[in-house]
Symmetry: D2
Subunit: 485 residues, 4 copies
Amino acid sequence: MVHATASSEAIDPDDVTVAYVGGGSRQWAPNLIQDLAQSGLDGRVRLYDEYEESAKRNARFGNWVQSREGAVADWTYEAAESLAGALAGADIVVLSTQYDPAETFVHDLDVPRRYGIYGAVSATIGPGGIMRAMRTVPLYREFAAAIAERCPDAWVFNYTNPVHFVTRALYDEYPDINALGLCHEVLGTRHRLARYAREHLGMADATREDVSVNVKGINHFTWVDEARCKGVDLWPTLEELRDGEEGHQEFTASDLADESVFVDNWQVTWELFRQFGILPAAGDRHLVEYATWFIQDGKEGLNRWGVKRTGSDYRAKHWTPAESEQTTDVDAWMAGDREFELTESNEVFVDIAETLAGDGSYVTNLNLPNVGQVSDLQDDAIVETNAVVRAGEVKPVAAGGFPRPVRALVRGHVETIETVIEASADGDLDAAFEGFLIDQQVRTLQTEAARELFAELVDIQREYLESWDLEESTVLAGSSACSVD
Amino acid sequence: MVHATASSEAIDPDDVTVAYVGGGSRQWAPNLIQDLAQSGLDGRVRLYDEYEESAKRNARFGNWVQSREGAVADWTYEAAESLAGALAGADIVVLSTQYDPAETFVHDLDVPRRYGIYGAVSATIGPGGIMRAMRTVPLYREFAAAIAERCPDAWVFNYTNPVHFVTRALYDEYPDINALGLCHEVLGTRHRLARYAREHLGMADATREDVSVNVKGINHFTWVDEARCKGVDLWPTLEELRDGEEGHQEFTASDLADESVFVDNWQVTWELFRQFGILPAAGDRHLVEYATWFIQDGKEGLNRWGVKRTGSDYRAKHWTPAESEQTTDVDAWMAGDREFELTESNEVFVDIAETLAGDGSYVTNLNLPNVGQVSDLQDDAIVETNAVVRAGEVKPVAAGGFPRPVRALVRGHVETIETVIEASADGDLDAAFEGFLIDQQVRTLQTEAARELFAELVDIQREYLESWDLEESTVLAGSSACSVD
Amino acid sequence: MVHATASSEAIDPDDVTVAYVGGGSRQWAPNLIQDLAQSGLDGRVRLYDEYEESAKRNARFGNWVQSREGAVADWTYEAAESLAGALAGADIVVLSTQYDPAETFVHDLDVPRRYGIYGAVSATIGPGGIMRAMRTVPLYREFAAAIAERCPDAWVFNYTNPVHFVTRALYDEYPDINALGLCHEVLGTRHRLARYAREHLGMADATREDVSVNVKGINHFTWVDEARCKGVDLWPTLEELRDGEEGHQEFTASDLADESVFVDNWQVTWELFRQFGILPAAGDRHLVEYATWFIQDGKEGLNRWGVKRTGSDYRAKHWTPAESEQTTDVDAWMAGDREFELTESNEVFVDIAETLAGDGSYVTNLNLPNVGQVSDLQDDAIVETNAVVRAGEVKPVAAGGFPRPVRALVRGHVETIETVIEASADGDLDAAFEGFLIDQQVRTLQTEAARELFAELVDIQREYLESWDLEESTVLAGSSACSVD
Amino acid sequence: MVHATASSEAIDPDDVTVAYVGGGSRQWAPNLIQDLAQSGLDGRVRLYDEYEESAKRNARFGNWVQSREGAVADWTYEAAESLAGALAGADIVVLSTQYDPAETFVHDLDVPRRYGIYGAVSATIGPGGIMRAMRTVPLYREFAAAIAERCPDAWVFNYTNPVHFVTRALYDEYPDINALGLCHEVLGTRHRLARYAREHLGMADATREDVSVNVKGINHFTWVDEARCKGVDLWPTLEELRDGEEGHQEFTASDLADESVFVDNWQVTWELFRQFGILPAAGDRHLVEYATWFIQDGKEGLNRWGVKRTGSDYRAKHWTPAESEQTTDVDAWMAGDREFELTESNEVFVDIAETLAGDGSYVTNLNLPNVGQVSDLQDDAIVETNAVVRAGEVKPVAAGGFPRPVRALVRGHVETIETVIEASADGDLDAAFEGFLIDQQVRTLQTEAARELFAELVDIQREYLESWDLEESTVLAGSSACSVD
């Protein structure tokens, strides 16, 4: 029970070693590089990626940025040839990978849909989310084991989805890991609340940083029961908006035709807030996968709340690392084909890292093992609440519990996650299927159909599921969907 | 926490006072009368019913039975004019009523079906079961209050469905009540297991009484993880049957055409046993309302497992007290138009009552507030496990917990029950709707459709929902289904 | 969480194999032999003992008894040469040993006394009880491991003290063991309550069997909050006795001069009942070691409550296996030097065994791992409550919780027990000392004195503590009481 | 479970209303006045005291300070005539009273000592601490009720001891109160750790503010399992000091002769750290009353650890409000008889208040109801951990649990506190005695002696115990120590 720190060393702000696993990324890595260049920290970053060329390109870009205007900090970059080499003695590890190809994500969307399951994103829960977890978790167990060996005291920032599954796997594999699961959704809620404060409370300069919320739940299914802007209670304003026109908009497919798949009209948020008296704090497209009423009428039912479903064509295009077009075209920048200006991302990574290495305290939402911060959920489940960061430590903030009906919803998803993680420890596919079967989205199927769906998904993605015991699986054997060799 | 018995008196087996609320019943009362006539107990029974004539007829029958051959015990019967009069000083109270007319039960079946919810019985969970609970619970709060006043130490046998909701309401209203919730489903499972012992283990004379099970769950969603016949483990036999032909039968509508609605082919039982490694112990028609995968494909989907849906025509006919034909035609018996022979029912009522008043111990399944007998469920929820009855006491037997996926299913229903019961304390209709909304069957609807369904059911049954605050309800006000006056 | 019985076979009442570990005993074995001779079971008993001669003598006696009048059952006896041989395929294992010599028990009494700790028995808790546990637990881990290998499904009856420590160790070593911890104290309470029923309620023939109690706690510190005789509530009678002369007797040393050390005047019982409203159910001499107020004034303080301290001279004489005089002198019986008449002991062993092998149900108090039967204590701790025995199964009865102050007392002892058991898993002496230090009796010492007492006890008994890591112990190293070689 | 803020308004830093109950204090009030004068807040302070003259004097002083050099903030002071008037509409309430006269505290020390209980301070636990709680708690229930009526959303700073009892009573009386219990002990530990960082880690300028600890427990019995200075782990240094000379000092009475009663040699701290691997974080003189081994050998035993007992003569002199000499002689300052220089206290009050009214976050230890921040202790108990303060909110930081033996100690005291608080709700003296009886210090007495001690203390302080039902008390009636009129 006691967690005494026996050996972790303080991070020296002038000499920070960062290992970036997935460092070949086109979007995150350039952002991080720019944030670091403007930070109060100096050091080196080792970029590691299965696609070594990408890591090398980002390393070149990182070193190139150092010479740009505004780059006040002193950083060097290199591509690491091995995971072990990247991790050795690191103070900070960033985990942000996406190695399974876009087609797997397309399957995650399209196969369940054929069974009538109309998930909006299909990436963190529901049949698609669970499959993604099953593809990802074994790799992250390997990362955790390598961290235990190479840099056991490092601070590990996990950005990889599904954040709850993946972070849970890290702790399950190496219980003493100092891992933080990060996500933008709650930041987005605070951003929006700042807008409401500006528009309805005359707080003209209010920004996300001025908004504090008491947040709790699991990643992508977080809830807020207190919200303030510069100390002013936002609750009465939110209730007014909810009960007025703002909270009662209906949408049609044509309304949304030109919108991005990321459009968020908050109508799911308002509806859940109205129903349960507590405000959801994740994008509507995520919420509908956990509060599954909203996906029960297919496309029309979803659109009515202003939510678009991620199209598989979109995904096929955008999730393919090698071909996606990006705003962060580092080659173009370096070649001078595109004008470069050092910008700050909205990430909290640097805020956290500076505080860990420095002084003061910094409060933000983080995904951490439950030690009591959410009183209604089981110990060790990865929950999302505020946490307070200080030099050398991160501690979750006690956030209390839920109204009973919301508690029931959240707990249901925790059971699925815990079942799958436990199954992943020894690759027991049938045990994982039990978590799949009790998933809220899957409960609209007959058991036999659920088994068929699972088998079909496993079969089509089997090359990415090598850590699972497919041979001995009863579910696969019993399913006509699956041609076991 | 301590529950010391300060004042309850032992029941004198020669002088037992029974108050039978709902004593005008055509089926249960004649059975009880015959069981008592053959018991080791003597005393008096006061029959109370909203339909006083029915109570009087049963009283005449009761006294008439005393003169029949085989009636060894000494009992007198009278119809009570008031509830208070019936209860005054009673040692035992039987609660078994059905005052809401058959048409309400028809609505419970038919209205949800129009919304695509194909409940098989619709009487203890799901939209219909919740409505029935909402009609019944206020009356049982009144019963509990009257018991607290008139016979606070009496043993209260509740047979009225939904047993979990109703028994919970009794305890919520009068926490010191000695109430037992009774049900046949687990007895039915033991009966069937005895048959398997006869057929597959050569135990030719095995009966229900020889079969012991470790049972746990909530009423109509109970599970067994140990089963023996005369001490012989039945598990290997059950696993064999499950994995063989017996456990893999498929049915079509025509197979079931001539079957009673009560037909139980155990295919849902085998499927759940196969999936979770723990054996359900309630009729398949009940199980499918709690393990809702099975009702996801309408009539065909249900029939495939050998389950028939209770037709509303059947119900209209059979649940109407005044018109149902019965095997227990007391007038015909008394007039000599039908031959009468004293028979024993399969009820455990007399076994329990004799043990309470006598010696030895008797083990049977009972629905009681959780004080730890089911380790996975919350305190105070009404759970069903074995209990041991002895002179003057009934104690639940510790039954342990569930495999995680089953736990998730059971807990979900407990949340609905607890939400509705809490709402019933002050008739808060909107709070009750939250329990309705998170019900597993309802989760296949959009929130707006769920609200509409609820409003329609409430509206059509409003004369039986007088204890609920319909005027202030947001759910009703917001629904087009409901014409609030 | 689920505990499904996969393979245990029913006990055939005509063919029972009993392994009796400690079967050379002079008192228990002859009793058991006589009980079996009059039972409804037939079979064979293998007696195993470190003192093989004693086992052989008892085997001869067992076979001799078969020819006596009244010996209706058919049993054969043999001395087993090895533990493994005794256990192989056994249906029932009896554990009842006392291998550490009387002098160790003398030390358990006398050494703490020199430090001002005036334990009355010093055999199940307090410094002496903990030392005894430390000598005994390693051996019982070996027994458990052997049972796991030789007769994994056997029913194991543990009579060896300290029952809570020892039974806990059996389960810690082999979690699937079917072990029951047995003790007479609650039976003694029921015996006394029957006397009160005879004397004060006119129930002339009331016996222990007529008395039912709701019992809960840990062995030797059990409490009763309901008590009935033939269903009649004994509580009002008990309160009257408590508040009258019966409950307010004072004793002096001379009053007790001629009494046995086992004298029980119930004044501790009444005092605790008066204080907390719940009745203790163990002998006063045991209670005072758990409710330590009573041992705070040395001999005089103890005698005032009618309790005698076990003298070390008594113990030296009576706990020496080889030399104790006994009522059960089997050699004299067999030689015809003493008249033999088959008698029944008050043990419940045969009642339990008959029920396990037969039919019906039998309720008695047993020490079992907590799965919820005591709601206030942690899971897995060995707690004592009623249990219901049926063919092939034993299940604890849910007994509820305690008034808060009693809960505080009981929990404190559980913490000591759990700490020592956990320490015993790898023989960590310093960790065991932490359990010793927080023991209620030890808390009257300074920490340094506690360490010295512990070291002195360990040093003087070191030949019986071979499984503990004495070399690495900080406690021993730091203490002047201990001459580490 | 949910705690949504519906109506609390942000504190305007330019217009803060403070109600100071106990505002006549000689020490705290002048400190607070000086701190406010140098703060970033403006507003008014209403001083309320039973001794109205003292409040008026402090009001004069407060207004006088405004004109001193360095008084940058704008504050006005007034003495309030009534509690209601002081509280009306307050943003902040300070509770800091000591109305029971010094003689009661002398009794708290001296009477238990006659029974052999050698408490070092006797002011927050043990017989004296419990008596103080019993005198104080009823008054604080009145304060809580008045706050609920006059300023329900105010932030309430409770400084009054025993902080755990008193803060618990505030919440028990008015569950929605925003009350914080404050104490210096953990600040003292951080102060000392900063010194170690300076002396042993070469961090020359380290101060208390640089030291962060993970603290948990109950007030005056708090524990630390992580400690850092500017992020550098202090644990290895602390272990070295503990195991070396620093941690192994012995003291005699003569060593301490000239020391203040507040002397803290940390030998109790080192000994407990050595024993349990977790560092206590309260003064040794407090620790010994909770870890009672240290008070088991009277004066000598206590002195050996470098702890002096608070003499009753000292207390008689210093705790008498009217006569104590002080460093904060406001009359002398105002008259010019003593030179005045505006100084800052070490209190965190202004830091907290500024953060509540402003921006950023501030972390400090606070006593708050447990909602999970200490995972090993029961909900609602007042526990001490870090909390993070932000504009309009205070949230506890999740601190985890304890090693089992420490958990056992802490829980024991929580049981006493909860028992007494529950008893205080309706003034049940006998119920309070149960909390007294299970107190660790009291367990060295026989039950009869404990009853006598309690009765004697109650009798001698009965004029300060008017809210308790002395008439109906069995404990008083049965004791010879108490002359019930």
